[in-house]
Every structure is written in C-alpha cells, then in structure tokens.
C-alpha cells in the first residue's frame, strides 16, 4: 500500500488555489451588484476549508517527495477533486443546476472540453460565465504543467520523447523543468492578454473578450453565448480567434523566448509543420465544398471553414455556425477530425499530431519491410531516431484511445442515446473537443437533454482523455496497489 499523505497534501494546496480563483468571479459579481457573489464566496469558503483541512492533517516537515505511483494517484485525484469542487458554484447558483449537471460543466471546463449543459448563457449571471472561462484557463495551466513536468517522467504514451534534456542530477532536472513550465505558463498568459485586447479592439465587449481569450488559448471553448461565436458574426473577431486557437494547439514551449533561439525553430519543428499543413488542407477542402456546393461567398466560406476546422482540430469547440447543416461530407470530416488533436505540449487534447506522425512512420516501415524482409528501418521524429520504447508506448496509447472510445460509445448507447449521439459524444469527450454531431449535442445543441448516467460517463471520459488515459488506467492495475 502506498503512502497517500503527500497526495492529500498536494491536493489540499490545489484546492486552496481553486478557492482563490473563486474570489475573481465573486469580485466581478459584487462589483456588478449581482446577488450571485454570495454563491462564490460560500463555495470558496467550503473549498478553502476542505483544502486547508487536508493540508493540515497531512503536513510534515520539508517539501513532500513524490514517487511514481503517488504521481499517478495525485494527478487523477487532483482532476477529480478540482472538478468536484469547481462544480459548487454551478450547483449553488441561481441557475439551479443538479449536481450531475454541475459536475459535468466543471469537468468539461477543467479538461478544456467545452461541452455545456447550460441553456441561456446570454442571460446568465456574469460571475458564472467568468467562472466557466476561468475553469478553462486554469485547466489549460494544469495540462501544461502536466505535459511538461509529469507525463514525460511517467513515460506515458510516448511523452518520454519530450523529457527535458539535462544532466543526470535530479534536482537540476527539477529546477530546469519548473523553469520551463513557468516560461510556458508566462507565454500562455501573455498570449491570452494579447488575444483579449485584440478581441476588444475588434468590437467585443471587454468582458466577452476576456472570457473568449481565456477559452481560446486553453482550447477550451466555453463561450458567453448559446450560439457560440455565431453571436459575433464579425470577420475580424472570428479570424483573431482562429489565429489564437491555432497558437493554443501548437507546442507552446517553442514560443518561450524566441529571440534566444535564433531563426525560425518553430517552423522547422516537424510536428508544427504537420499540424499546420493538416489545418490548411482541411480548411481548404471544406472551403471548396462550401463555395462549390453550398454557394457561400468565397471569403465567408474560407472564414467559416477554417474557423470550425481549427476549432475542432485544436479541440477547442467554438462554432461560428452550425456546420452540421453543411451536408453529409462536412459532417463525416468533422467526425474524423475529432480524433486528431493539436501538438504535444499544448492545451489541446485527442490523439495529437506527434502520435499520428509515429503511426505513419510505423505503417511506412511495415510497408518497406514487406519488400525487404531483412532490412533495418527506423522511424524519425524531428530528424532524430525514435527509440523502440517510445514507439511501443505510442502504440499502446493509440490502442487504448480507440478502445476507450468504443467502450464509452457502447456504454452511452446503453443509457439510451442514439447511435450518432453516442459515437460522436464519446469521441468529443475523450478528445476534449466539445460539440458532437447530431441533433442533440451538435454545435447548435447542448448536453442538457442527456440522462444523468450519460453525463457522469462523459464527465469521467473527459478526465480520462485529459490525463492521457494511462494515468488513470494505471490505477486500475492490480500491481499498482500491491507492494
């Protein structure tokens, strides 16, 4: 049995941070004379109380030392707890949401998914809207830290490829890792700020601009209007968001101090090249479709096609229009795009470009080996050879991904959902994308009509997808709890 005290201790700290974050919407509501500020204060109080209790009960001298097993438990527990407490403001607010709905909304926020159960966002109190955006944004910070500092060391899904290169001394690695993480979070914050200012300049209200900037960089996708970005039918606003969603789905580490890197390292990164070409290809394809088949103006076609393609591929989930009305072909394309995901080291979810690259390499090697059975072929990434353990774990990840997708789709149909809703709902939750397909959960719908059991399933699927599957699945392995 492992020692769970450090796990509880760190989770206590995180809850205190969450309680602090609840102060922000409380302040906004208080300034705006909205009675909902009491809700946030109450929730913050409860959260802080529990957090402090957890810390005090398990406090020991010196900084906590975390082993591998504890790291798995810590990560999973942290996301579950944050979602559970992040749900409090929704449950207590004037929206009168059930706890299942609240938990769904909170985990959708923290995992930067962006699926919502709330109808009537345009009239919702500002505090709640800000809280949703904040959850997105904080979830984004969480995933950056996770991707830089935790996953590579746990060796999950090929992420060991992105381990910081450094000398072997562990404290040096730790110092460097936290420096890198801090650098990335700074980039993230600065980009959010720029995005907010630009949106404001393009004609959004200041409040909406801030909320959308936070949701865009986090590739979260919570909007402040029921019709998402369809509410702001302005080319400038949508293009700005397209740009910043693209940035949010790119490897953020490459933006850290670009002047120190000399030249265009970003564009020489093979993952970024694949990512951008993929976006361009599918945007162009759908632009042609919209222009040729649905007779949209070329400029509008380009804007809507690229906005929605970028939104789905980066797993943001904004929608500039109801693209399920575009006809059969776009719907099929959007279904498959749900699985792609952005680059590693970004806030986006799903399988991610780097793993697709490895898979392509694997298929190519297999093909070449068919002709030359005794040849030796290697898979390269960024002009360097990938070790076999990395290939193996990418393989394991992809298999688990599609297995989880199938299992959850199946479970969702058991709660009574129809085929398209279940299939696309499972894909969208696992990839942290946001909207599904079909009449109910499509970009124009919400997840509200689903039964509670389906909402719980989707909430857990979002967390499973966000934690790159294996962090959670490892907990279910028998050997985890032995020894």
């Amino acid at each position: 049995m492992i020692d769970i005290r450090p796990v509880i201790y760190v989770n206590g700290i995180l809850l205190l941070v969450l309680a602090g974050a609840m102060g922000v919407p409380a302040l906004v509501d208080w300034v705006g004379h909205d009675p909902d500020w009491r809700v946030f204060v109450t929730s913050a109080f409860i959260t802080a109380l529990v957090g402090a209790g957890m810390m005090l009960a398990t406090q020991r001298d010196g900084p906590p030392k975390i082993t591998t097993r504890q790291a798995f438990l810590l990560t999973t527990a942290a996301w579950l707890l944050m979602a559970a407490f992040g749900a409090l403001p929704f449950a207590l607010s004037s929206l009168k949401m059930s706890y299942a709905d609240s938990f769904f909304e909170a985990s959708s926020g923290l995992t930067t998914t962006g699926s919502t159960v709330i109808i009537g966002l345009d009239a919702a109190p500002r505090g709640i809207l800000l809280w949703r955006a904040l959850l997105n944004w904080l979830g984004g910070v969480g995933i950056i830290v996770l991707a830089v500092a935790v996953l590579p060391f746990l060796g999950i899904g090929g992420m060991q490829l992105f381990k910081m290169e450094s000398s072997d001394k562990s404290d040096k690695v730790r110092a460097r890792t936290s420096a890198v993480a801090a650098g990335i979070v700074q980039v993230y914050a600065v980009l959010t700020l720029i995005c907010a200012v630009l949106l404001w300049w393009a004609g959004m209200s200041f409040f909406d601009a801030v909320c959308h900037a936070m949701a865009a960089l986090a590739t979260g996708g919570f909007s402040t209007s029921d019709s998402s970005l369809g509410h702001w039918d302005s080319a400038a606003i949508q293009w700005i968001l397209t740009l910043f969603m693209t940035l949010g789905g790119a490897t953020l580490a490459l933006f850290v101090a670009p002047w120190r890197r000399g030249g265009w390292e970003l564009l020489r990164d093979s993952q970024t090249q694949w990512y951008l070409s993929f976006l361009v290809f599918f945007s162009a394809l759908l632009t042609l479709w919209q222009w040729g088949v649905n007779d949209m103006e070329p400029a509008d076609a380009l804007r809507h096609a690229s906005f929605n393609v970028v939104s789905i591929v980066t797993t943001t989930g904004f929608a500039s229009t109801d693209y399920t009305q575009w006809g059969g072909f776009p719907v099929v394309v959007f279904f498959f795009l749900t699985f792609i995901g952005g680059s590693t080291g970004s806030t986006s979810g799903a399988v991610k470009v780097f793993r697709w690259e490895v898979l392509f390499g694997m298929a190519g090697v297999h093909l070449k080996r068919l002709l030359h059975p005794h040849g030796i072929f290697v898979i390269n990434f960024n002009r360097r050879r990938i070790s076999e353990t990395v290939v193996d774990s990418v393989l394991g990840f992809v298999v688990m991904y599609f297995l989880s997708f199938a299992v959850f789709a199946f479970l969702l149909t058991m709660t009574g959902l129809d085929f398209v809703t279940a299939l696309s709902g499972s894909a969208t939750a696992l990839g942290n994308v946001g909207p599904g397909l079909g009449d109910i959960i499509g970009p124009a719908g919400t997840f509200r009509p689903l039964p509670d059991s389906a909402k719980w399933l989707l909430s857990f699927e979002m967390i499973l997808g966000r934690l790159e599957l294996f962090t959670v699945i490892a907990l279910f392995s028998r050997s985890f709890w032995r020894e």
Binding site: T68, R69, F72, L154, G155, I156, W289, G327, G328, F329, V331, V332, V333, F335, F336, L359, F360, M362, A363, G364, V365, H366, L367, K368, R369, L370, L371, P373, E388, V391, D392, S393, L395, G396, F397, V398, V399, M400, F402, L403, A406, A409, F410, T413, M414, G416, L417, D418, F419, V420, A422, L423, L437, F470, I473, A474, S477, S479, F480
Partner: protein, 482 residues
C-alpha cells in the same frame, strides 16, 4: 522490371478454374429451360480462352516465385477473376450496367454480400447459383491465402501464423500438401453437411445449396431480397449460424483436429476471444430485444445471436430486419463489423488476433509504467510477440483505419449521409456487406448509390480482402524498380 511470366501463368490457371465453375450455373439454367445458360457458356468461353492463352503462353522458362512476384500474383489473382466473374452478370442479368456487374462480382468474390440486384426471387437460378459459387470459391481462395501466402509475406502480423515445418525442404512439401488438401477437404465436407442439414430442416434443395455455400464462406448472398426472413424457421437459422461460426474459425485447426491434436485447439486463445466476444454481443442484443422489443426469450436468442454472428464473421445474412433497431444494438453491430473472425478463416475484418496482440501490448504498457525498468514482453498462446510483429499489426491497423476514414469521406463527398457513408465504408472494407441506415440497411440495396461510389466500394472490398498491404505494396515506388 521482374519476370511477369509466372504471375500470368498462375492467373491463367485461376481463370481456367473460373471458366469451369461457370459451366455449373449454365447446366442449371439449361435444365430449367432458361435462356440465360447461353450467357454463362459465352462467358465461360471468353474466360477459358484468356486463361488458356496465359497458361500455354507462359508455361516455360521460370522456376519459382520471388517475393515481388508473389505480391503481384496474390493481388491479381483476386482482381482479375472479379473482372471475368462480372461477365455473366453483364450478359445474363436484366438491365445491369457494367459498373453494377463489376460491383456484384467483386462483392461475391470478396465474400462481401453487398448487392445491387433486387427481385432475387424472380432471377433465373443460374445467376443465384453463380453468386453463391463466387462466394464459395472466394472462401477457398481466402483460406489458402491466409494459411499459405500471407504468413510468408509478413502481412500485418500474420507472420505469427507461419506453419511450423520441419526444416528439411523435402519433408516440408508433403506436409504442406497434406495441410492444403485437409483444409480444402474440410471445407467441402462442411459445405455438404450444411447442405444436407438445411435440406433436412425444410429448405428447398436449390436454396439449401446456395445458403450452404454462402454461409461457410461467410459470404452472405441469399436467394431472396429479404435474405432469410421468408424461411422463418428456427432450425434453418440455427444451422446457418453454426455454419457462419465455423467459417470464422481458423481452418488450420481443423487439420490439427484431424490429427487428433484437440488440446491445441481447445487451448487456442484466439478461439476463446472469438467465441467470447460473440457470446457477449449476442447476449447484449438478446437482452435488448427482450427488454425493448418485448420478444420472447427463444425468439430473442435466435435473432440476437444470428445477427451478431452474421455481422461479426462478415457474412451478412439476416434473419430479421434490424433497420428499426436503435442505439445500443446498432453500436454493437457497428463495432463488431471491425472485429471479424480468426486468422486463417474465410472471415475478413481486422481479425481477433490483432486485437489480442494490441491489447496484450497495452496491458504491458500499463505494467511498464509502474515498473519503468522491468523488461516485459507481451505474449500470445504462450509465445512472445516480437516487436516487428507488433509494429506490423499497428501499421496494418493504422492503414485500415485510414482507408476506412478516407473511403467514408469520399462516399460522403458523393452525397451520402453520415450513417450511410460510415457504415458502407466499414462494411466494404470488412467484407460484411450489410449497412446501417435506410439506404443500404437490411432490405435496402446498393443500386441507388452513384456509380463512382460503387466503384469505390468495390475497391474497398478488394483492399480489405487483400489485407491492405498486398495492394499497397504494389504502389510503393521501389516495387517496380530494378
């Protein structure tokens, strides 16, 4: 450029065989007094002429097949017969265009069971028999390919199923010949047994013959538009269910059984998973039928299991119109479409063993996370799975998924809706033949699809039947060099 003569010689042989097969429906039609027998005789003549020309012209001057020739032969041995098998449809069936005839023939040879024909009851018996015969021959072709060719070519992890031969060359040949003849013998005997059983259960002799051939080959062409619904007998459904189930088993194991090595068969993990998945799916659908549709237990078991076995083995016979089903059973059927049967069976799809390999590896990955420095190797039937094998399987799976996605997108581009394009693509690549949705679901027909869509689907069927890589390797730039 390498020597094409052996390739053409072998194709010539296959064509001669096909021409002979065409004479059987000709005889049936002639006896029943249908004028269509002429179409079969003419087609047989054309096919035999081409076949004999190739055989006689390319007979001498070569000794054995090199690896590239083996790929080309395997691919062409499926593609060329499809072209010639379309001739009777073109000349014999009322108003069938070239594309339709090609689609029907490809669907038959690959054991898919997608059809563009309607009004099957009114068709001359020759054509119905020809459809059954195509699937039956395609079934033998599939087994031979899966047992003898694919493992040697290392396609998609099939190298794990190389037949262990004693190293000395002279001993190996008789054993391989014995295995081959046993397997074909078992296939023929099973067909005859099914035929007799179906006849005893009350089917007409002609219907029994066609259904026996299309169930053991997991093909799925029937003699009625609504497949098995007109018969509506539990006995018939049960016999066909067993037939399809047998068709999805690894045929090599019948050889081991014939040798009395039943332990080896009983311990085979692949068969366990195959039956286990079938049982789970069947149970889930049975329960759903009882709960949501108010079926009696016996009826629910019968239709639930029949549909699951039919879809999972890639057969495509239907005992009940499931187009009204919604939600869970649809998801089960859609997912099972991808699973398929065992390696070395007549069934297509990804196949059970590939899922087992990958699952074993994924479990290993979870263990590895907790013990980063341990050396862990996944195993299958007690044998370790080598890295290259895993790589092959993953490469296969990736190409499979990619082909599925591209095919679905192309179909949607032609104007089909989400459900139709997803299920048509899945069903073509997995050689199932049944779709979901209103257009191509049970009772529907592929006749309404655009011509380009039919050609794409036919290509998808061949791609699926040839396990992707046999065709893909042909377009590799290095293939035609030297």
């Amino acid at each position: 450029m390498f020597d094409l003569r052996p390739v053409l010689f072998l194709i010539g042989n296959v064509l001669c065989l096909l021409a002979l097969a065409m004479l059987i429906p000709a005889a049936f039609d002639w006896r029943a007094g249908h004028a269509e027998w002429q179409a079969f005789v003419v087609s047989a003549g054309v096919t035999a002429t081409c076949g004999l020309a190739l055989v006689l012209g390319m007979r001498s001057g070569w000794r054995h097949l090199a690896i590239r020739q083996a790929y080309l032969t395997t691919a062409l041995c499926w593609v060329v017969p499809c072209l010639f098998a379309a001739l009777p449809f073109l000349w014999g069936a009322p108003d069938l265009g070239l594309v339709d005839a090609l689609f029907e023939a490809t669907s038959g040879v690959t054991g898919t069971a997608s059809t563009v024909l309607t009004g099957l009851e009114r068709l001359p018996p020759g054509l119905l028999l020809w459809r059954g015969l195509l699937q039956w021959l395609g079934g033998i072709g599939m087994i031979v390919m899966a047992v003898a060719v694919l493992p040697m070519l290392n396609i998609g992890g099939m190298q794990m199923f190389r037949i262990e031969v004693i190293s000395a060359q002279d001993r190996a040949t008789p054993r391989a010949a014995r295995i081959g003849s046993t397997i074909v013998g078992v296939y023929v005997v099973l067909t005859v047994v099914l035929y007799l059983a179906l006849w005893a259960a009350g089917m007409g002799r002609f219907d029994a013959l066609v259904h026996a051939m299309t169930s053991i080959s997991t093909g799925g062409f029937g003699t009625h538009d609504t497949s098995l619904a007109p018969f509506d007998q539990a006995g018939i459904d049960f016999i066909l269910c067993v037939g399809m189930l047998l068709g999805g088993l690894p045929f090599l194991h019948f050889f081991y059984l014939a040798q009395g090595d039943w332990r080896r068969v009983a311990r085979n993990q692949q068969v366990h998973w195959y039956l286990g998945l079938m049982l789970l799916g069947g149970l889930a659908i049975t329960l759903w039928l009882i709960n949501s549709r108010g079926f009696g237990v016996a009826t629910a078991v019968r239709h639930g299991f029949f549909t699951v076995v039919s879809v999972m083995t890639g057969t495509g016979l239907t005992s009940i119109d499931y187009s009204g089903w919604a939600g869970m059973p649809v998801a089960i059927l859609f997912l099972l479409t991808f699973v398929g049967g065992c390696a070395g069976s007549t069934a297509a799809g990804i196949k059970v063993f590939r899922f087992q390999f990958l699952f074993a590896n994924a479990i290993m990955q979870v263990r590895q996370l907790l013990r980063p420095h341990a050396v862990l190797v996944p195993s299958f039937n007690g044998k370790p799975i080598a890295r290259e094998v895993l790589g092959s399987v993953m490469g296969f799976l990736f190409v499979y998924a990619l082909s599925f996605a591209v095919l679905a997108m192309l179909l949607a581009l032609l104007g089909l809706d989400l459900m139709t394009s997803l299920s048509a693509a899945a069903s073509a690549i997995s050689n199932v033949g049944l779709g979901l949705g209103e257009v191509i679901g049970p009772g529907g027909s592929y006749a309404v699809l655009p011509d380009l869509g039919k050609l794409l689907l036919a290509a998808g069927m061949l791609l699926g039947r040839l396990e992707m890589f046999v065709l893909l390797v042909l377009v590799l730039p290095g293939f035609w060099d030297e």
